[in-house]
């Protein structure tokens, strides 16, 4: 069944993963989108603030997006997102890490301009296998509401 606005009440939504991240994909993303030495070169990375090879933060966010699509957004009535309130890159994503994504709904409200839709604000935290938080993201998603008749029957 397609998930709609009504399926995202405030509170814990779910935990998704694991998603294994390889050295090859870290290097490939960095070569295309973020070719800084700390994401491409082992020796330069070891001298950087991050003390070793790490994935681009945009790569980590993109992987989190994919985990959301695979976990729930791909079978939802998602209509897209207007943006991201905040992203905090807390610790580096390393080659070989297995990511888990923890998602909470922090707010769910009906859209004033498009009342057939709602805005669901999610807090998503990506963690490595040791449970260390690597990235925290707070972002709204626009979700279609169930058809008015169905909503009345359900309500």
């Amino acid at each position: 069944m397609t998930l709609t606005f009504e399926d995202f009440p405030p509170g814990h939504f779910g935990t998704f993963g694991p998603r294994h991240v390889t050295r090859e994909e870290i290097l490939a993303f960095a070569a295309e989108f973020d070719p800084q030495p700390m994401h491409l070169d082992e020796a330069a990375a070891s001298r950087s603030m991050l003390k070793g090879l790490s994935a681009s933060g945009w790569h980590l966010c993109s992987i989190m997006m994919r985990m959301m699509v695979d976990g729930f957004a791909g079978r939802s009535a998602s209509l897209g997102s207007p943006g991201v309130n905040e992203v905090r890159w807390l610790a580096p994503l390393r080659p070989g890490d297995d990511l888990m994504l923890d998602i909470d709904v922090v707010e769910a409200r009906v859209s004033r301009s498009r009342p057939e839709t709602g805005i669901v604000t999610l807090r998503s935290v990506a963690r490595n296998a040791a449970g260390q938080a690597l990235c925290e993201m707070v972002s709204p998603m626009i979700m279609a509401r169930r058809a008015a008749g169905a909503a009345e029957r359900a309500g």
Binding site: D34, G57, S62, R66, G74, L79, G80, E86, W89
Partner: protein, 160 residues
């Protein structure tokens, strides 16, 4: 690349432009954001976007790509003049990212960066912290993308 001491609020730099072809949009989306409106022209037309739309993470990643290329260009220029090159540190994150209008297949987006705040790091005296508003504007002059980025920038004279 600039050192912290070279950076002032209000400095603006055009960092380059990029054309989002249908092929590039779909290739990124298949890997990271396989939602129907990023994968298929007809589904895109039926969506709120009104056409095949780039994943917002694709737009952000391309912005990063052009910013890095611009920084590397500046570093080569500085090296050619015999100047010391500043190697920027990692970013702790960003705020207020807005996908203001869809980026549709064929759109060319020009990216720019404008410094909003500069401050020294209390915990790391060899670094300063710079916040810049990075924006993308399409070929019609519409602002389509914006976020407030934060980066650690090395000081030329730590502790001075």
């Amino acid at each position: 690349m600039y050192f912290f001491e070279d950076i002032a609020v209000g400095q603006r730099r055009e960092v380059g432009s990029f054309t989002f072809t249908a092929d590039l949009i779909k290739t990124f989306a298949r890997q990271f954001d396989p939602q129907r409106f990023h994968l298929d022209e007809e589904e895109g037309r039926k969506s709120l976007f009104g056409g095949l739309a780039a994943s917002g993470w694709h737009v952000g990643s391309v912005c990063m790509k052009l910013m890095v290329a611009d920084g590397q260009r500046r570093a080569r220029e500085a090296a050619a003049l015999g100047k010391t090159i500043a190697v920027w540190g990692p970013s702790p994150g960003f705020r207020e990212l807005r996908w203001i209008k869809p980026v549709l297949a064929g759109d060319t987006i020009s990216f720019a960066s404008e410094v909003e705040t500069v401050r020294s790091s209390e915990k790391r005296p060899e670094w300063g912290i710079v916040q810049a508003r990075n924006t993308g504007t399409n070929q019609r002059g519409d602002l389509v993308f914006s976020f407030l980025a934060t980066a650690f920038v090395p000081r030329r004279n730590p502790g001075a």
